[in-house]
């Protein structure tokens, strides 16, 4: 294992310290917990948004704490859901009377730990609700009752639900918007190479030199199948086909596109992917209203990418265009 770390046991702690030192204008630490919250409380009372999950997906989620997106983020051990007491501390730290919405990626561990935190907060009289993101189309919903995994589409939920919360909307309304994003976003990814969890010390899976994994999750979980490496356009077309097969797009439909790097993919390659995605959507008469290209939901040093497509209506389009000011996403 070759990593710029000190000791595996300290990676999350030292990363959080580094983040606060880098972005003191955006985030501060809830002392004693793996929780970052906004450095400055919002000027007026609003629904607070908290997300989180295992670490290793940076900039998710603490990188999206700031005006227009999240109020707090909880960092678990690498690829491991944070514990209920950590989530509960985040909820207490950000609640300002209008309730708290938890944005959870659909993994059994995350859902269980966040639900236990909700029970703890409810016992304190804090109103907490949740949404569960399940945008990954790689695994078919009909076969496994637990449903799909939550991946990069989660960032679009942070963006749009965050913008809605800034308007002063109540908890039910912010939740409605978050669910609307979840219902209209689909993603799928692929990996060129594996990643190594620091505490594990060896790669989560091994791919041959010429082999790629289609549809793998963001924790190094093996995907749907492996195949030989193909040109970028062919891989991209396959992923877009899978997404559109699940969520048909009609002529004239407006969408947002997120091309997400998994950690070790050069921006050059992500732009090459984006070029093909844009071409394919244009051919179908679909209009791209907004494109994001970059590392939003990584998987440590995994090489590969995911594509997310979000169907927009006027309401979602306006909220997506609203300002955001966070360490990892700034838009005016």
């Amino acid at each position: 294992m070759k990593k710029v770390i000190n000791v595996p046991e300290q990676v999350v702690e030292e990363m959080l310290q580094g983040m606060v030192l880098a972005h003191p204008q955006y985030v501060k630490r809830v002392e004693g917990f793996e929780v970052l919250v906004r450095a400055n409380k919002p000027e007026s009372s609003k629904v607070a948004l908290v997300s989180g999950g295992g670490s290793g997906h940076e900039p998710s989620h603490a990188g999206f704490v700031g005006r227009g997106m999240l109020d707090g983020a909880v960092a678990g051990a690498v690829f491991t859901s944070p514990t209920p007491d950590q989530v509960y501390e985040a909820v207490k730290a950000v609640d300002n009377g209008k309730g708290v919405l938890l944005i959870i990626k659909n993994y059994s561990g995350d859902v269980m730990n966040f639900e236990m935190a909700i029970e703890m907060a409810n016992a304190d009289g804090i109103t907490v609700d949740k949404v569960i993101v399940n945008d990954d189309v790689a695994v078919e919903n009909s076969t496994w009752t637990i449903g799909r995994r939550g991946i990069a589409g989660t960032v679009l939920v942070h963006k749009i639900a965050g913008a809605k919360a800034e308007t002063g909307a109540d908890l039910a309304e912010v939740k409605r918007i978050a669910d609307k994003v979840i219902n209209n976003v689909r993603s799928m990814g692929m990996a060129l190479d594996s990643c190594t969890v620091p505490a594990a010390g060896k790669p989560s899976f091994v791919l041959d030199d010429n082999e790629i994994e289609i549809g793998m999750g963001i924790h190094g979980e093996p995907g749907t199948h492996r195949e030989a490496l193909r040109p970028a356009d062919e891989i991209t077309a396959h992923l877009v086909d899978k997404i559109i097969a699940d969520m048909p797009l009609v002529v004239g439909q407006e969408v947002a596109v997120l091309i997400n790097g998994l950690g070790a993919t050069p921006l050059m390659e992500l732009y090459i992917v984006n070029r093909k995605v844009a071409t394919l959507l244009q051919e179908k008469g679909v209009k791209i209203a907004k494109t994001y290209v970059g590392n939003y939901m990584t998987s440590l040093e995994m090489a590969g990418f995911s594509i997310s497509i979000l169907k927009l209506d006027d309401e979602l389009k306006e909220l997506l265009a609203a300002p955001a000011d966070t360490p990892a996403l700034v838009q005016f």
Binding site: G54, T83, M112, N113, W144, G217, H219
Partner: protein, 208 residues
Amino acid sequence: MGGYLYEAISAVGETIISNKQMLTDLDAAIGDGDHGINMARGFEAVKIKMQALETENDIGKILKMVGMTLISSVGGAAGPLYGTAFLRAAAPSQGKTQLDVETIGLMLEAAITGIKERGKATRGEKTMLDALEPAYEAFMEGAKADKSVLACLEAASEAAQQGVEFTKTIVATKGRASYLGERSRGHQDPGATSSYIMLQTLVEFLRR
């Protein structure tokens, strides 16, 4: 028995810690490769917390501490599941300083019910329940036949081991392994395995 339980839980913790790599490897094959790491971290934390309870005789109190510690240190799915199991098992043993077959049966039942509620899972979905439910049934059969605690636990552990073997033959529908579907067949479930080795450790502890 309070003192015994203290030692029994220490033994269980040591087993989990020493099987960290094996559990992690099982998980890497079909899940996200962290089960051993997380469970070992949890029982390391339990070990530290236990020091304050060395003279505690109330079995319920000890189990409650174990449950709370696992919940706040393990994370993943295993933390809430095992944490809930120990918390629920604490209820029938509250105020007790000794355990008999009847109480252990109630504890196992409460623990399994807790796991089912928290994980929204049932038997046959390639989870720890595939080890624990047969174990409970074997334990209760032993109880009906008026067998000793050790004999009942031996039967339970054997049933759990068979349950682990059974998980190799089925496809996962719960937990991260479920995302693999058909590809999860042929691998034994890490959660069922950790449940089995805990039971087996208790058996070996009682034999000593």
